[in-house]
């Protein structure tokens, strides 16, 4: 199950390139994101550009700010096969995934990260994806899939998912693009480490 709410930009206000004030599921920390429709055109990614196979109708962009940051704090499940007991026994892994991209040969981009924290808020694990460079996109407008997987450390209780869109050079449009952001937990049979 994807723990990220509205990781696909499908819910809440948006649809154009105009920035929105609120984004369902996310706190806007900085800047002004837009939830852009693939049907908008005008150079934005379309259904025909590289991106998620099931991409829905919209994606995130950095709007018109040089730096736009969205954050989502997730409380890890207390019970179940990926609950606290399993986490503390070292039997849970996480996968962070997202489709990240930008416009043509420009170097605007978006970085996706997850920081796991223990019950006191101390960082205990980190995965960082992107930003995808123009070279990686072969200088075409595209979103490319990026994933990271690792063990959830014992004691982890929350996860902070962060999207940071950055504009390079001039212009007003922050053309970092993101879609299909997900964080999933899986139970494993074998512990990932522990006291040696």
């Amino acid at each position: 199950m994807n723990l990220v709410v509205n990781g696909d930009a499908e819910s809440g206000p948006g649809g154009s390139a105009d920035p929105v004030v609120d984004v369902n599921g996310w706190d806007v920390w900085e800047g002004a994101p837009a939830l852009v429709a693939y049907s908008l055109g005008g150079g934005y990614p379309t259904a025909a550009d590289p991106g998620p196979a099931s991409r829905g109708s919209r994606f995130f962009s950095g709007g018109n700010s040089p730096r736009t940051a969205l954050v989502q704090d997730i409380v890890l499940p207390a019970q179940g096969r990926t609950g606290r007991q399993a986490v503390d026994a070292g039997r849970v892994r996480y996968t962070l995934a997202g489709w990240l991209g930008g416009y043509a040969a420009q170097e605007d981009g978006v970085r996706l990260s997850v920081e796991f924290r223990d019950g006191r808020g101390t960082p205990v694990a980190l995965s960082v994806l992107g930003p995808v460079t123009a070279a990686e996109r072969q200088s075409r407008t595209a979103l490319l899939e990026r994933t990271a997987s690792a063990a959830v450390p014992p004691g982890a209780r929350t996860a902070r998912v962060l999207l940071v869109f950055t504009r390079s050079g001039g212009g007003t449009s922050n053309d970092g693009y993101a879609d299909a952001v997900s964080l999933t937990l899986t139970a494993t049979a074998k512990p990932s480490g522990g006291h040696q």
Partner: protein, 522 residues
């Protein structure tokens, strides 16, 4: 594995006709061989897995942050360890760790370079503690730390270090800091340098970087591990709690934290992550890695308020009419803190020079990477300090590889602008300064061009020790005799004082005749 030793390396290099070839650590060596080569040439490490030592940071009245990083192969990007290693820690009131007051376990994750950051709480204010970690059946060295005091405080002593290019010298300055009777240490940045090898070992440099310019998390991890291969740096970390800020070389020379393209943002995130992994930094709840939150205010009882500034993460490009070195949020935060400041000494940990610095009368600013490239913001912030009536402001600065003492004025171009504080820019630990000839010629020129500049000395290396009482703030400039000597003796070059309630500094009469290349009151 082929064993390498110093003699063979030097012999091979000598046969090749270039002694600097003795330090190509990345040339096809495994991490283990690279470590061996590094050790043969003067680096060393604590026993595995605690090769990089232990550290503490961000002391508060009831807590301090403990740090270590497991790195059995310090020069490897990824460690030969399980994905998660649980690390036990213990805090005691005695060096033998018998009177234990706190203990626990923290997970070291491969995703964070197998580092652990433990904020220990429930401690007593103003108390010395000792601590150690245990993992993989081994116990680390014992570190010593201290919590901040509460209430009335009669004195505090602290050291400030900056700019420690590995190739430019050994860390005798950190050896000195480790032996100082100080409550804490402030590092003002340029803890590592990002560039590749400089060559010229040992004719021009005592040692060298382990490889080329660094870009990835693995690269930056390796570079931090190389620097911690100087035992004096590990000693200084283990001896005192540190407060930390950073300057540019933790990422790349003269960078602005905002506005770069995707390749730079990727590099910046890698550098920031590795910095966090290798530092005793307490990350505040409001931030999220890989962007640690550096700026903070801390109290040392009723005597001193320390404001740690971050002059890199949020800055714009230089020389813009609306440019910013602090970023809008940090600037608002700083101004609010000035408004609410208690009646104490106010110390700003400031990585890069605040005061105006023209190279010669009528000439341009020497470097606009420093606050001189952010004129409107400097005027706004210092004008706010003046307007608020804040007194007893001392700014401690690094970056310049030379010592300066400046009067702080809200408008440096207006001689009638009042003195509102003092800036002490400390010598570097090792990073190369201008030549003695340059200093001799340019000290008087800078003095003539900058009426607020009281002192300049650029021929030495070291650190500052600050001694603070309710009545006086004293800056002792400690210098090493020879940065090429790992155990070089430390002496005090001179001392400046600031009296409480009186803006401006004066040099101690006992050391007023010490060597310097500019002295206004000489």
């Amino acid at each position: 594995m082929t064993r390498l030793n110093r003699r063979d390396l030097l012999k091979a290099a000598g046969a090749a006709g270039a002694l600097n070839l003795a330090w190509p650590l990345s040339a096809g060596l495994t991490p283990a061989q690279a470590r061996e080569a590094a050790e043969a040439l003067g680096a060393d490490y604590d026993p595995a897995p605690f090769t990089l030592g232990v550290a503490s940071g961000d002391p508060q009245t009831g807590s301090v942050l403990l740090w270590t990083r497991l790195a059995p192969e310090p020069l490897a990007g990824e460690q030969p360890l399980p994905e998660i290693v649980e690390v036990d820690w213990v805090v005691a009131t005695d060096p033998a760790l018998r009177r234990v007051v706190a203990r626990g376990t923290a997970p070291a994750s491969a995703t964070l370079g197998h580092s652990v950051h433990v904020p220990v709480s429930g401690l007593r204010p103003g108390t010395r503690y000792w601590y150690a970690f245990t993992a993989l059946g081994r116990t680390s060295r014992t570190g010593r730390t201290r919590t901040a005091p509460a209430g009335h405080v009669a004195s505090v002593r602290f050291a400030a270090a900056n700019c420690q290019a590995f190739h430019d010298g050994f860390y005798a300055a950190h050896r000195g800091i480790a032996r100082e009777d100080v409550d804490f240490v402030v590092h003002l940045g340029d803890y590592i340098y990002e560039h590749g090898q400089v060559g010229g070992v040992p004719a021009d440099h005592v040692r060298d970087h382990e490889g080329g310019e660094i870009f990835t998390v693995a690269d930056y991890r390796r570079r931090h591990a190389l620097y911690k291969g100087d035992r004096s740096l590990r000693e200084a970390h283990a001896a005192h709690p540190w407060f930390l800020t950073w300057d540019d070389h933790e990422v790349v020379n003269d960078y602005s934290g905002t506005g770069g393209g995707a390749p730079f943002m990727k590099r910046r995130a890698a550098a920031y992550q590795a910095w966090y992994e290798n530092m005793p930094h307490r990350d505040a709840g409001a931030a999220a890695l890989p962007d640690p939150e550096i700026h903070r205010t801390r109290r040392w009882g009723d005597l001193l308020e320390l404001t740690v500034l971050d002059l890199r993460s949020h800055r714009s490009a230089q020389n813009l009419p609306d440019g910013t070195i602090l970023g809008a949020r940090q600037k608002s935060w700083l101004k609010r803190n000035v408004d609410r400041a208690p009646d104490t000494w106010h110390v700003w940990a400031n990585s890069i020079m605040l005061s105006q610095l023209r190279g010669r009368p009528g000439g341009s600013y020497m470097f606009t990477d420093q606050w001189d490239g952010f004129l409107a913001e400097r005027k706004e912030v210092l004008g706010h300090v003046q307007g608020s009536g804040l007194e007893d402001l001392v700014v401690i600065t690094g970056d310049w590889h030379s010592a300066f003492v400046d009067d702080i004025r809200p408008d440096y171009d207006d001689p009638s602008s009042p003195v509102i504080g003092t800036e002490f820019t400390a010598h570097s630990v090792t990073s190369g300064a201008y030549s003695a000839d340059w200093n001799k010629a340019n000290g008087p020129l800078m003095g003539a061009a900058n009426p607020h500049l009281k002192y300049f000395e650029g021929n030495r290396y070291g650190y500052d020790v600050y001694e603070v009482t309710p009545r006086r703030f004293s800056a002792h400039m400690r210098v090493v005799a020879d940065r090429r000597d790992p155990v070089s003796p430390v002496t005090t070059l001179t001392t400046f004082h600031v009296d409480r309630g009186t803006a401006g500094s004066y040099e101690d009469p006992a050391t007023k005749n010490s060597p310097a290349q500019w002295r206004r009151d000489g």
